[in-house]
Amino acid sequence: MWHIAKREIYDNLNSLRFALTTVLLLGLMLINAIVHLQEHPGRMQKYHDAATKSLNRLKSRTNLYQIAQEGPGYLYKKPSSLHFCADGGEDFLADNVHGGFYAWATDDLAGFWQLDYMPATLNRQNIRPDTIKIDWTFVIGYVLSLIAILFTFDSISGEREHGTLRLTLANSVPRHTVLIGKFLGALVSISVPFVLSILMNLLVISTASEVRLGPDAWSRLGIILFIALLYLCLFLALGLLVSSRVRQSAASLVILLLMWVTFVVFMPSTLASIASGFSPSMTYDKFNERAIQLVNELRGEYEARLQDMKDPVQKMEFAGEYVIKDVTGRERLIHEYLTQQHAQIQLARSVTRVSPVVLVQHLLEVFAGTGFERHQQFVENVQRYAREYREFVTDMDRADPESLHIIGTYEGMSKKPISPESIPMFEDRLSLGRDFNAAAVDLLLLMLFFAVFLSGAFLAFVRVEV
């Protein structure tokens, strides 16, 4: 077997395709590294500036009512240091959630803060042509798979055409050994330039002092490399499968390329468009209408019943109740709106898993800490923090015996000064454990694809006539 693998490797190393592959991969990875070095410090700087500004504003508040009413302000998503691995469409995902108020105010009452998920401010100034970002996902998902096909399409049909396959099999070599040998040969000869280009990429990135990769990042990179190789194996197995089924190598290439184009280039977006039609989400107009209706209803009810009340404390309690009801109602609606949007995306993402390139894209996004999964994680972090923040307000109020404990009104809440250190601060985090859970299905599907293709190739090759 090693003999066959070695022969394959030697064959490949001298070929034109090996040279072209090396040049292509090195060039792409170099571009990727340089772009990352140019963009990443700015991105980090922007995040730090914005987050610090937001924190400082929060710390400047000393009054409990102000804290409870104005809210934590903008909460920012921390950019991943592995952004170069997967861009994840971060441009289309919001980088912040606003925990603030701007709903309404009367003379003595003001609407409380709520979490407001603004969509990403799509860069409408941007009239430059949009292109696919050159990240690892592109290099692996598109380029590497194409290369895998170009290396394997003739590995069996070509040899059969030349008659060398018969020669090989004339020796007492079991067929599966030949197949595995060919597989390993192709794997090694593509892995060499691929791993080289990745090493060069990481070398360039890690030499820059602005970009620091921690041990966590390196372990993530290791996992990403493993996924990339698995994906490569998948396409090699597919190539071998088609190559052993089809008599002519030209026909085998045509089939493989058209399969590749369908699965890699078209399937993800076509299926996503079809699937997103199945679960339409609330339109913005509808949402807006419901929000206005909700606010007006509560307001009307409040004003109507306030007329009959005489006792100031009772009035205050009623006002507090109204404020809380208003904010929970609005937040529930916003949450529903967001959940519907996320569900629509989630469905489209699940359906597109038929395409292996989508699997690898999901996996890379998860481990690079970008993309939709990561965005959902960020939203969850924000929601957890919002609960913490509200609990903090209640606890502080409860701790003050002088307070009337009517949250929602200025007069009814504790007036004790709050030390800025005690206010909970938001910090966005990534956790590897959670990522594994998110990735498990995709990883399994990828392995399943590989197993199916490899056993298919095996069966096809065993039954093939030489």
Binding site: N126, K133, V143, V261, F266, D285
Partner: protein, 507 residues
């Protein structure tokens, strides 16, 4: 003789397996995507129609001239199904006000159901052609010469008294006529699907535009066939030719369009230029503000409050009193002043103030229009230099690949390119002039109705409606012509090179 050659080649190509697969895949992709795209267009059109309705409604609710700002919506382009270009990306609703010159940087996006859907790239018909047609052309071409040479049939053919040029021509004609089959059938199916949709009605102009797309597609296809042939002519073995062809395809279709901008992107919005332009605009408005304050100081009515203490009868009417403010946004160089007053019913005590207010607004209105125009002159140039120029350079870089040229040509045909989109904003600016003319016509700036609806609400019915017509086919053709010409020239150059190589090559 040449007809015999063509017939032979044609039969050779038509009967192949690759031809069948190519046709099948093309049809599948085009039909599936056209159906999706038509649905998407219908959704956008519905959103546009709602926008039209609400816009009209909103305008009718404005009771005074000063609050008479209105939104106008951009209709989705039905041909965006072929090449979506910027049609879905740039804002589709723009605010028209006498105080502000609208640009594409101020437009809003309306009617997108779920902004997160942008995570999935959208595919249009031209993209399918870009990827699949070029691939099929190369697959047809790679063994055109190298294969015959390898099999020895080339020598056989040349023993007959045939000119070498004729052989090339025969190969080209037959292969192209084969390749046109999937192209034309899939386009035909797409057009049939389009006409069955009730939302889309294609005009004669649209059919001519589709004709333009077909023309560009044929030229594009032919470029890739020639590239394949060139590779086939220079290589000895089909294996090498195939490998080279595939890498050329991968590079030009997949890698180059995405990598070139990352590798040699023109510099981002230059900060100093931005700051200086913003300063200049700011000065214009500050000068305006000084004059405004001076007017108020010289006015018979003491104090600075431009509302002149006018109040509404109903104290709860939140928007009753006027509000004057500057709208500033340095990232798009926006800086404008708005004076909106929307008093529903004047209280008795405010009545004596009315002539003062009229004087003030008679002075202010033209001043605002004037300052807005002057600021626009500065802003226009700066935006052009900061945003438009780099975008144009980007598109020039993309033309390093035939894919870029083809994309640009088809976008120009359907009118979803930058120029086509800017036509809309040009129309919006013209409409703003219409609004201002209407104000002058009605003598609105000094009228009481400018700030209060005490004497009845403004009747907006006599204001002409906004309508946007896409440019005519001739203009589209003119815009597409340079790219089509370059593609044609590329064809000729490639053919000449192949011819020279083939003539000199040993069989």
């Amino acid at each position: 003789m040449i007809t015999t050659l063509i017939r032979r080649e044609l039969l050779d190509n038509l009967m192949t397996f690759r031809f069948a697969v190519a046709v099948f895949i093309m049809l599948l992709l085009v039909v599936a995507n056209t159906a999706v795209l038509i649905k998407d267009y219908e959704r956008r059109l519905a959103a546009y129609n709602t926008a039209l309705k609400t816009e009209r409604q909103q305008l009718q609710e404005r009771k005074t001239y000063s609050s008479g700002s209105l939104d106008v919506a951009r209709p989705p382009n039905p041909l965006s199904i072929f090449n979506v270009g910027l049609d879905k990306r740039l804002g589709n609703e723009i605010w028209i006000s006498y105080a502000f010159v609208p640009t594409l940087w101020d437009a809003r996006m309306r009617g997108t159901t779920n902004p997160l859907l942008n995570l999935f790239s959208s595919i249009d018909i031209v993209f399918i052609f870009e990827v699949v047609l070029s691939l099929i052309a190369l697959i047809f071409a790679y063994d055109a010469i190298a294969g015959e040479r390898e099999r020895g049939t080339l020598r056989l053919v040349l023993t007959h008294p045939v000119r070498r040029g004729h052989i090339l021509l025969a190969k080209y004609i037959s292969a192209m006529s084969c390749l046109l089959v999937p192209l034309l059938i899939s386009l035909l199916l797409a057009v049939i699907l389009l006409t069955t949709s009730t939302a889309i009605s294609l005009s004669t102009g649209d059919f001519l535009r589709i004709g333009g797309i077909i023309l560009s597609s044929i030229v594009y296809l032919s470029v890739f066939y020639f590239i394949g042939m060139l590779i086939s002519a220079v290589t000895r073995r089909t294996g090498t030719a195939l490998m080279l062809a595939m890498f050329v395809w991968g590079f030009w279709v997949l890698v180059y369009p995405n990598a070139v901008l990352a590798a040699i992107a023109p510099p981002e919005a230059s900060q100093p230029r931005m700051v200086s332009a913003y300063e200049e605009i700011k000065q214009i408005w500050e000068a305006f503000d000084r004059e405004r304050k001076q007017f108020l100081a010289n006015d018979a009515f003491p104090g600075e409050d431009p509302d002149f203490g006018m109040v509404d009868v109903d104290p709860n009417w939140i928007w009753g009193s006027g509000h004057e403010y500057f709208h500033k946004d340095s990232s798009t160089l926006r800086y404008d002043y708005h004076a909106v007053s929307n008093i529903d019913k004047l209280s008795e005590a405010s009545k004596p103030q009315v002539p003062h207010a009229q004087d003030y607004y008679r002075f202010l209105g033209p001043q605002i229009v004037n300052a807005a125009e002057r600021a626009w002159l500065v802003r226009k140039q700066a935006l052009e230099a900061i945003f438009v120029q780099p975008a144009i350079v980007d598109r020039i870089l993309l033309r390093g690949s035939p894919v870029g040229m083809y994309d640009a040509a088809t976008q120009a045909w359907v009118g979803t390119d930058l120029r086509g989109l800017r036509d809309f904003f040009e129309a919006a600016r013209r409409y703003r002039r219409t609004l201002i003319d209407y104000y002058y016509d009605k003598n609105a700036f000094g009228a009481e109705q400018w700030f209060s609806a005490d004497k009845g609400a403004v009747d907006w019915d006599s204001l002409p409606q906004f309508s946007f017509q896409r440019v005519d086919v001739a203009t589209n053709a003119k815009r597409a012509l340079p790219d089509v010409c370059i593609l044609v020239m590329l064809n000729i150059i490639l053919f000449v090179i192949i011819f020279l190589i083939f003539i000199k090559s040993e069989v």
